[in-house]
Every structure is written in structure tokens, then in C-alpha cells.
């Protein structure tokens, strides 16, 4: 890649940040050049983020319909999946899945709610509501 070919496409996913890439300058030396983003990166990052958002939105709809608990919504919102949530909380996956049932989620102890909230980086109050 030549220095003049380094993409400067202003990706929204970079949030105004400029990343460093290596490219060859006019003198033939390869050096660090700032890039405002490449469309390719934006496409794949948006793809991953959109997929996570889609799952969160889907879960939110099911919370409103009373089919799942707010826990599932917040899991997706925190960009986690079941294996990751299980690893971070140290709970069995089947136990977490059981907590996806609204009636069981409603009866969880504050300590258990706190365990979920802390790994997601939110408060217990936020965890209880799907918004």
C-alpha cells in the first residue's frame, strides 16, 4: 500500500478517531500513516454491531410480549452471548437460561441481580427494565 492509497473515508465507526496503518511513502520507506478509515472496515464493523443490535431489539420485543426476561435483552445489549455471560458470571448456562423466564427473573435475589449487573457494567435498577 502506498501512502497516497491510505484510505481517508471518515468512518463513523471510528468516532472521529484516526488509526495508524503502515504504508510506503514516496521515498520507498514504509512508515506509520494516519487513516480516517476504510469503507471495508466500516462495513464489517457495522455488520457486527447491527447484528448485536438486531438481537437486542428482538429480545426487547419478546420482553414486552412477556416471553423472556429483561436479562436476555441486557445480555445482547452488553454485546454478550450466553457462553460469555456464563464465563463472566461463573453461572451455568442452563441456570442463566432459566433466568430468562420472566416469572423466575422477577424472583431473583438482589445479590444475583448484582452479579449480572456488575459484569454488564450497569446498575441493578437498569437491569430490571428492558430499556
Amino acid at each position: 500500500m502506498l501512502e497516497s492509497e491510505v484510505p481517508q473515508e471518515g468512518n463513523v465507526t471510528l468516532g472521529g478517531h484516526r488509526k495508524g496503518v503502515y504504508a510506503r511513502g514516496d521515498d520507498g520507506k514504509i512508515q506509520l500513516v494516519q487513516s480516517a478509515g476504510w469503507e471495508v472496515e466500516e462495513i464489517v464493523t457495522r455488520q457486527a454491531v447491527d447484528d448485536l443490535n438486531r438481537m437486542a431489539e428482538d429480545a426487547r420485543q419478546r420482553v414486552l410480549a412477556g416471553q423472556t426476561s429483561a436479562l436476555e435483552y441486557h445480555m445482547h445489549k452488553a454485546r454478550m452471548d450466553l457462553p460469555l455471560l456464563s464465563q463472566t458470571t461463573g453461572l451455568w448456562q442452563w441456570r442463566i437460561r432459566r433466568h430468562f423466564r420472566p416469572d423466575i427473573f422477577a424472583g431473583l435475589s438482589p445479590a444475583m441481580l448484582g452479579r449480572y449487573a456488575s459484569v454488564m457494567g450497569i446498575s441493578v435498577e437498569q437491569l430490571k427494565k428492558a430499556e
Binding site: M1, L14, V49
Partner: protein, 330 residues
């Protein structure tokens, strides 16, 4: 001595290069990367991230920090903590006594990261070089940013003690003792040979050139599953690992090419310059692969998994020839 921040493309090599520079040993980021033989390729179908296999273009985390110890006569001290408060206390102690401290963190909890890039990746390296006593905020040098950043203590503690795969456990590292200028004629050829061994001779079929072929087969195999949405997620993940996750472009191929240029000069071996150009071409091919994958994801091109797989096989052939040449040149 006042700490000088400078931007890098990759977190671990950037942290090490900054740390060494601070100790009076001017080592560039590509040199830190190359000297520790960090270039690689690995297709790890057993390790899943959100249900998709892990693809890596470099050796595992901490490889650079550890790999630089021997050639530079560097002594690194690593500390992890069970107790979060103890980890924070120790960090404050080290900073108060004038150290600069490397840390392993989770990107998800770092508030200064762009929202869209905050995934659960637990092996991001940053340097702490100061702390504002009044507010308790840390001054961090995050190598992938162009200027130093600040981070509130609660967020940093969360990031250092995130759980899950590659959990940092509050890892801190700092150097004890001064690094010395190495004998380039010894350490560079050794590092080059190690990289060729990793790429050509690793006895498992998922690492090195064979790993690239294995990935090509896996991509081709997606066609039989008849699930285009899933196939797009898969190739998107590969491209993300290659371009988005701090690789300096082309899955670390360009940064390694820069290292080869430096090596050519230090050893007065023009042959390494030719090889460097060759590797830049290979890096460009990786980027072409990324471009067509992205176009397929957005339906600007029909999804042709066999064509993508063929591209990867062509890259594998070229890399094989390249690393054989590099072995002869080393």
C-alpha cells in the same frame, strides 16, 4: 524523564516500543513486532467469538512483551491480582514511584474508545504514566490513539478485572533493569528464522500457511450450508480481525514489511529490502480479499465463496514462497 506518547498501529508492540523508548532505547514499533517474531496466522475453529471462529494474524497476547526480553536483555515483571482493590493500590504505588506501567484491559469498559469498537476483547494493552491526585483519573497512553487519554479509576478497574476468555486478572507489567542495545547481526536473523518456522513448520494444520488453506476450505464449505446470512457473518469476522483490530493493515503484513526494511539497513543486506517489497504486495492481496469480502457482504457483488477461497489459496501460495525465501535470506 517526561513520558512521550506516540501513536502505533498495534497495542502490544506500541506499548513495548513506548516503554523501551522511555528507558532510552529507541526501538520502533515494527522492530518490537519483528524482533519478537509476532507475525503469524492462526485459524482457531475451537475458540468461538459470538459463535464465529477466531482468526488471528499474529502470535497470542503477551508474546511480544515476553519475546523482547531475551534479545534486549530486558527484565519484565508481571503481576496479577485476586483482589481488585489490591490491584488498584499496586498500580497507584508503582505510578507514585515514577514507573510507567503496562496493563491488560478489556476494550468494552474503556470509556474513551469509540462506541462501535467496544467489544468484549480482553487483551488490549495500554500504558499508565501518571495519575491526577485530585480527581484520581489516570493518564493513559493508548498506543492506537494519536494523543494520551484519561480514564476514571472505576472504569479502569472494571477494564482490568473483566472476566471471560483471556481474562486480564488485573495484569500489570513493568521493566526492572535497563535494556541494552542488542547485537543486531545476532538477534535479527534469529527472529527471522523463528517467524519462518512458525509460518512453515508448525505441526498443527491450523497455524501458519496451512492455517490459511484450512480457512479457505472452511469458507468454501459455507456454500454447502446454504445460509448466506451466516456465511456473510463469517467472512465479515475474518475481515474484522484482519483490518479493524489494530493490525496496521493487511493483517500485520505491512508492519512486518517495515521491520524487514529496518533489518536490511541494520544488517546491510539489500536482499531483505526486496523481500519487504514482496511482502507489501502480499499485504495488498490481503486487502483485496477484504475488499471483495466487504462488497459481497453489502451485496454489491454476488456472494461467491469459492472465489474468496481461491483468493486465500493464492495468498497461501505466495506466502509459502515468501517465507521460504526469507528462510534462505536469514
Amino acid at each position: 524523564m517526561e513520558f512521550q506518547h506516540s501513536q502505533a498501529s498495534h497495542c502490544e508492540s506500541g506499548v513495548m516500543s513506548a516503554m523501551l523508548r522511555h528507558q532510552g532505547l529507541p526501538i520502533s514499533e515494527p522492530m518490537a513486532f519483528g524482533l519478537s517474531s509476532a507475525l503469524s496466522f492462526a485459524y482457531l475453529p475451537i475458540i468461538k467469538i459470538n459463535g464465529l471462529p477466531l482468526v488471528a494474524y499474529r502470535m497470542p497476547p503477551k508474546f511480544i512483551i515476553k519475546g523482547l526480553q531475551k534479545p534486549l536483555g530486558l527484565k519484565m515483571c508481571f503481576e496479577t491480582f485476586r483482589n481488585q482493590e489490591a490491584g488498584t493500590r499496586r498500580l497507584n504505588e508503582l505510578l507514585a514511584s515514577g514507573n510507567i506501567v503496562g496493563m491488560q484491559t478489556s476494550v468494552f469498559f474503556l470509556p474513551y474508545m469509540p462506541e462501535d469498537l467496544r467489544f468484549h476483547f480482553n487483551a488490549h494493552n495500554v500504558l499508565a504514566f501518571g495519575r491526577d491526585v485530585a480527581s484520581g483519573e489516570y493518564q493513559l497512553s493508548d498506543p492506537v490513539f494519536d494523543a494520551p487519554v484519561t480514564c476514571p479509576p472505576e472504569a479502569l478497574q472494571k477494564a482490568r478485572f473483566a472476566k471471560g476468555a483471556l481474562a486480564p486478572k488485573g495484569l500489570l507489567y513493568y521493566s526492572t533493569g535497563k535494556p541494552s542495545m542488542p547485537d543486531w547481526t545476532k538477534v535479527i536473523p534469529k527472529a527471522l528464522k523463528k517467524t519462518t518456522r512458525i509460518m512453515l513448520d508448525t505441526p498443527v494444520p491450523i497455524i501458519g500457511i496451512r492455517g490459511i488453506r484450512r480457512l479457505a476450505n472452511a469458507i468454501e464449505g459455507l456454500a454447502a450450508k446454504n445460509d448466506p446470512a451466516q456465511a456473510k457473518m463469517f467472512i465479515g469476522q475474518v475481515v474484522r480481525m484482519q483490518e479493524e483490530i489494530g493490525t496496521g493493515g493487511g493483517g500485520f503484513r505491512f508492519i512486518y514489511a517495515s521491520y524487514l526494511q529496518e533489518a536490511a539497513e541494520l544488517l546491510a543486506r539489500p536482499r531483505l529490502n526486496e523481500l519487504s517489497e514482496n511482502l507489501v504486495d502480499i499485504g495488498d492481496e490481503w486487502r483485496e480479499f477484504a475488499l471483495s469480502a466487504a462488497r459481497m457482504i453489502r451485496d454489491r457483488e454476488p456472494l461467491a465463496l469459492a472465489a474468496l477461497a481461491d483468493k486465500l489459496r493464492r495468498i497461501a501460495d505466495r506466502e509459502k514462497a515468501f517465507f521460504l525465501d526469507l528462510r534462505r535470506a536469514a
